[in-house]
Amino acid sequence: MSAILKLVAQRIALGLLLLFFVSILIFLGTLALPGDVAQTILGQSATPESLANLRAAMGLDQPPLTRYFQWLNGLFHGDLGNALTNGRPIAEALGSRLSNTLFLAFWAAIIAVPLAVLLGLIAVRFRDRWPDKLISAFTLSSISIPEFLLAYVLIYIFGVKLGWFPTIATLNSSMSFGQKIYTIAIPIMVLVLVILAHMMRMTRAAILNVMQSAYIETAELKGIGRFKIIMRHAMPNALSPIINVIMLNLAYLIVGVVVVEVVFIYPGLGTYLVDHVAKRDLPVVQAVGIIFAAIYIGLNILADVLSIVTNPRLRHSK
């Protein structure tokens, strides 16, 4: 048991180290500019006074190292600085948006994960027959379209032609749970389709890989039914890669969310980020960027840890 704990602790420490370097990288991006940030924000026609004011407001008159540690220190204390555009604290605006984004991603994941595993199982059970081919064709075409276009196709079909669901996902706190889910029905569908394909294909591949083992043949020769072989014999050994793929796709979901939120004008982190990139509001972009990176790295570590836990062979390697 302690061996597992040690490996897990190692992974987490590695992740934290990575996050530290990512924060440097995100911060460095602002220094690598020709000229400086104040100039870029205000444009070429800015007066020297307004430039000096903005530089002082952003702390640009201090050396980069000092600024970096001030920023990092703020991050640890939940102080993300103020937005340049409206001067309000960023942390205030982030709270509700982060929970909205996680709400959307959570429900998409809850639907997509079991569905992907089930479809993967069906595809293996009917390998190379029509259910397998149908699932493959469907998933292949859904990953060939970018998220935002998939969103509009679904809006066109379910929102406009059939009129089943709202086409804009505006949430407010007075909505009941059911109303919220109804409002974000199409965004959830889009996200499910986006990650379903990858997860299903990898699940299928992972199980097929295991199905070629000798012990599966033994099980077949014993006369066990196909589905039972897959569930009882192939599944436990395919679990580790499947969990890995699921986690990586949840990390991918975080990116998909950005675009989908913009399409549906959903009040989440993604719209917040994109709006402020266009306004060149650097503190906001840095804060949201580091949050997305942290979630992404966190999910990757979780994937590592879970595959160590589910696959005993990984515990003793190295």
Binding site: I26, T30, I145, V259, V262, A278, G289
Partner: protein, 270 residues
């Protein structure tokens, strides 16, 4: 090169068609790129095959010029990504040691941030122009090419003929360009197809977010952005790019699959 399977032939034909349209856009397009020729959102007709867009420009013309921009950006960005990624990957594999460690850890670092998020962070401080976009997308994607080419080159680097070349005293550059590159080419070419699709998706996504190609230029993602309001009224103008991107992506996939199956069993990792 005995015979091309049907799926690959279809893929090649459609891909070729798109590149042809992209190259000869000004001659093929029935109207000028930003020319207003009719009412807002006219339906499909014999004069406007795809109808008109949100300010009355011919949609077929916009799609043709959009193909030109999208495919141009994606092609150049793919080239940037492959040249940088494979040279660095081969270098890391041939020189090994400190260079390899430094490059690989740096690539790990870049890849630990989702590329769209990274692109957005960078685009918040740099001017959004075509060269910047191409460079940004190319360099971000070079990380993936780096990993693949390093892995492939490391496999080849231990082959007998490479050992022989080293023993006869060839320089590192010779090893990279005369021994590694020719043998690593087929998995790299197959991967190139996938990277190209990724570039198409990326540039159209960025344009859709308003952070890519700027109007009045045409780009597939931008066409969606311009016409998205029509969807609520049941006007499908914004859905044409979906068809274009999906058919291009699928046909390139078909070609890449064929190249991969035909030439080698090494699968390019994603």
């Amino acid at each position: 090169m005995k015979q091309i399977p049907l799926s690959a032939a279809i893929g090649l034909f459609i891909t070729g068609l798109y590149f042809f349209v992209a190259l000869f856009a000004p001659w093929l397009a029935p109207y000028g790129m930003a020319e207003v020729v009719g009412e807002v959102w006219e339906p499909m007709s014999s004069t406007h095959w795809f109808g008109t867009d949100n300010i009355g420009r011919d949609l077929l013309t916009r799609m043709i010029y959009g193909a030109r921009t999208t495919i141009f950006v994606a092609t150049v960005a793919t080239a940037v990504s492959f040249i940088t990624g494979s040279i660095l990957g081969f270098t890391a594999s041939v020189f090994g040691g400190l260079i390899d460690q430094a490059l690989s850890r740096f690539v790990d670092l870049i890849m630990s941030i989702p590329s769209l998020i990274f692109a957005l962070v960078v685009l918040s401080v740099v001017p959004v122009t075509l060269p910047v976009l191409i460079l940004l997308m190319g360099l971000l994607d070079a990380t993936r090419v780096y990993r693949l080419s390093r892995a492939v080159a490391t496999d080849i680097n231990v082959m007998d003929y490479v050992e022989a070349a080293k023993l006869r005293g060839e320089g590192k550059l010779w090893i990279i360009f005369r021994e590694l590159l020719p043998n690593a080419l087929s998995p790299l070419v197959a991967e190139m197809g996938l990277r190209f699709i990724f570039m198409v998706l990326m540039i159209s996504t960025l344009s859709f977010l308003g952070l890519g190609v700027q109007p009045p230029n045409a780009e597939w993602g931008l066409i969606v952005k311009e016409n998205k309001d029509g969807i609520i009224y049941g006007i499908g103008a914004a859905l044409w790019p979906a068809l274009a991107i999906a058919s291009l992506a699928i046909s390139i996939n078909l070609v890449a699959d064929w190249i991969l199956n035909r030439t080698t069993s090494i699968k390019g990792g994603r």
